[in-house]
């Protein structure tokens, strides 16, 4: 079991001086994930918050090798890097014992939506890479537009809460399950607040031979509209309400990594976030019931899968 003092003694591969918002969840995730291997890492980063806030020329917050190409192609970009690594090892231009890890990173926009095809393709082709989606439920980099990860009832600028329509009327896409359906060696859902769980999952993801996918909930004070000191509390509430269950699918086998002692009602998760504020108006309260129903059904289904 890893201890924080060990992690703290390691060098940051994403360093201070980046331009991510105060209270942003992304660098917390990166701090843990990038310590889950001691091998060199080559990163392909999709366009998004992390990319723009860490690479503004002539500055860079990356100590490790890092590349950005476009929004929708982090998976195919890293697939190219990995393919070249395999070719050069085979041709004897890179020594066989030089291990390198290949990591693609994207937000939910770059992963669930525009980059989904590239991710699905790279997973099917079996490249040896890890894909991390920092899922903050919204296109945060461009000011809060809906994505396929935006939850039911949330207000986003392209699914705004209005007098007729109370926010986004569709459920989120369950990308973790979709990636599990690719039959790749490792898929997991994690949260920055459960740092050890996140670390263990990242470690497994780096260690497996073949594609691995991590979907990590990422609190976003700006777009979720909560006080910036509360990010980890909110992430915790997502796990305790089972809005964001922590689980993994290892070679097809589901395992739930966290069962809340007491499963909290979703209202506890909705309340502190401004993006759900409109749900508490009398005429919209039915939607809270819908959300609860949907969360319960998904949690039940996940438990059934874990028992298979």
């Amino acid at each position: 079991m890893v201890r924080l003092r060990e992690l703290a003694s390691m060098e940051d591969r994403l360093v201070s001086g980046h331009g991510l918002c105060l209270g942003c969840g992304i660098p917390v995730i990166m701090k843990v994930v990038l310590r889950a291997t001691t091998d060199p890492i080559v990163i392909a980063n999709a366009t998004g918050c992390l990319e723009v806030c860490t690479s503004r020329f002539p500055w860079t917050s990356w100590r490790t090798t890092w590349m950005h190409s476009a929004f929708e192609n982090a998976a195919s970009t890293i697939a190219g890097v990995e393919a070249m690594y395999k070719a050069l090892v085979r041709k004897g231009k890179i020594p066989k014992d030089k291990k390198i890890k290949f990591l693609a990173i994207g937000g939910d926009g770059g992963t669930y939506d525009i980059g989904f095809q590239a991710l699905s393709g790279a997973a099917e082709r079996g490249h040896d890479f890890v894909y991390i989606c920092y899922d903050n439920n919204v296109y945060a980099n461009t000011g809060g537009q809906r994505s396929a990860a935006t939850p039911l009832g949330a207000s986003a600028t392209t699914s705004p809460a209005g007098s007729k329509i109370p926010g986004k009327m569709q459920k989120r896409k369950d990308l973790t399950q979709i990636m599990a359906a690719h039959g790749i060696p490792y898929v997991a859902q994690a949260s920055p607040h459960r740092w050890m769980d996140l670390y263990n999952k990242a470690k497994k993801a780096f260690e497996v031979d073949g594609p691995a996918f991590l979907n990590v909930l990422t609190p976003c004070p700006l777009e979720w509209k909560y006080d910036e000191s509360q990010g980890m509390r909110i992430a915790n509430l997502a796990a305790d309400t089972c809005v964001w269950p922590l689980y993994e699918v290892e070679n097809g086998k589901y395992k739930i990594n966290y069962f809340p002692k007491e499963k909290l009602p979703v209202i506890k998760w909705l309340e502190p976030q401004g993006r759900f504020r409109h749900l508490f108006k009398e005429e919209n309260k039915w939607l809270i019931d819908e959300i609860q129903k949907s969360v319960d059904e998904d949690w039940e289904r996940l438990q059934r899968l874990a028992k298979l």
């Binding site: 060199p40 503004r56 393919a83 070249m84 070719a87 050069l88 393709g121």
Partner: protein, 393 residues
């Protein structure tokens, strides 16, 4: 040993890929370039080459894989056509912006709508400002020769810019032709070892690639990028000459066919040149002073060289196999007319669009153009500067 073989354009490219044995080939099948991709896949399956072959789920990803692979630090190639090139669009600019020396074989095919699988230049003409070097080939031999030279051009330290080598869909890609394939070792030697610049896989020297630029750096980075293609002419010329020395077929920016004392000429690119040359021969036999210029390198556009050759003529017809909707003529015409602007002595110049969607162009159409040019040369008058060949009007 070089050998005389019968191959179509696609097989000629596949042969070049086999000889060069690039580190990564990433390509998605699309008519009419599919057989290049299939043949390379078979070479890998049969162990004839030890390239890493990646068959992504789209052309967008194919070019993205090429970009990742080239940035990683090795030799990369791909092939596509038409809609495939169009789907790569976004990534073409990024490949050029990141100065990645990817070489692509583009089998020219019309763009939708309506969908059509036959040859015209609308695909690569649409990519003319993507930052790639563009070399057009008349036949399978040239496609093969250009493709081999393309690696030397793209990878030259002063250039480091991607190159697309193009040839006409079906007319060249699928027609058998007697041509010369050079000796494997000679080709490998000509292309040489790849030397990476800022490879990602050199993890001991970490770099950040593809950053975000605000208003304070984007302009400088763009001009920095242009330096590569601006350095290309010298390298294209040197490589073309060296290829000639090594293999007996020398290449420049364009080929002049019976231009010595010509008074009127047609300027065009790619496969139609073969038919045009026949027509020139017929007219020359009748004592007419006609010639042909077949442009090989469209980007970088050899404006000065071309203008110097054209400026002494009385009339020139530029034949484009693409349109530029809303512009003052089709792409090759616009470039050529602009190149002539600074010359006090310059020919009358007209533009024909031909062959869209694979429509035939026959000697009769070239006769029609030369008749028109002769009339312009004798009267000094242009009644209409833009028209179509072999169109039901």
């Amino acid at each position: 040993m070089s050998k005389i073989v019968t191959l179509n354009g696609n097989m000629a490219i596949a042969e070049a890929i086999r000889q060069i044995n690039p580190d990564v080939v990433a390509a998605y099948p699309i008519t009419p370039s599919t057989s290049i991709v299939e043949t390379v896949a078979q070479y890998v399956a049969d162990g004839l080459i030890d390239s890493e072959f990646v068959c992504p789920e789209s052309e967008h990803s194919a070019m993205s894989v090429c970009i990742g692979a080239a940035a990683a630090g090795g030799r990369v190639t791909t092939a596509t056509a038409s809609q495939g090139l169009a789907l790569m669009w976004e990534m073409l600019y990024i490949a050029a912006g990141l100065r990645l020396p990817i070489v692509a074989a583009i089998v020219n095919r019309a763009l939708s709508a309506p969908i059509n699988i036959h040859g015209d230049h609308s695909d690569t003409m649409g990519a003319r400002d993507s930052g790639w070097i563009q070399i057009y080939s008349e036949n399978a031999q040239e496609a093969y020769d250009n493709f081999i030279q393309a690696f030397r051009i793209a990878e030259h330290p002063d250039v480091r810019t991607p190159v697309m080598v193009t040839f006409d869909g079906f007319i060249i890609s699928h027609s058998l032709e007697t041509m010369k394939i050079e000796d494997d070792e000679a080709v490998k030697k000509f292309v040489g070892e790849y030397s990476p610049v800022y490879p990602l896989l050199d993890t001991d020297n970490p770099i950040t690639v593809g950053p975000i630029d605000f208003t304070d750096f984007y302009f400088e980075h763009k001009v920095n990028q242009l330096e590569g293609i601006e350095n290309a002419p010298k390298v294209i010329e040197e490589v073309g000459k060296e290829f000639g020395k090594r293999f007996g077929r020398e290449y420049g920016f364009f080929e002049e066919y019976r231009m010595d004392d010509a008074e009127v000429a047609i300027l065009l690119m790619s496969s139609a040149a073969g038919t045009a040359k026949e027509t020139v021969d017929e007219l020359r036999a009748q004592g007419k002073k006609v010639g042909l210029i077949k442009l090989r390198v469209f980007r970088p556009f050899p404006a000065r060289k071309l203008a110097e050759t054209l400026s002494r003529l009385k009339a020139v017809a530029v034949l484009d196999r693409a349109t530029s909707p809303g512009a003052e003529g089709a792409p090759l015409f616009v470039e050529t007319r602009s190149a002539l602007f600074d010359y006090p002595e310059r020919p009358k110049i007209i533009n024909y669009v031909y062959g869209l969607g694979g429509r035939d162009i026959t000697p009769e159409h070239f006769h029609q153009v030369y008749r028109k040019l002769e009339k312009i040369a004798s009267t000094g008058k242009v009644d209409q500067y833009y028209g179509y060949l072999n169109l039901r009007e």
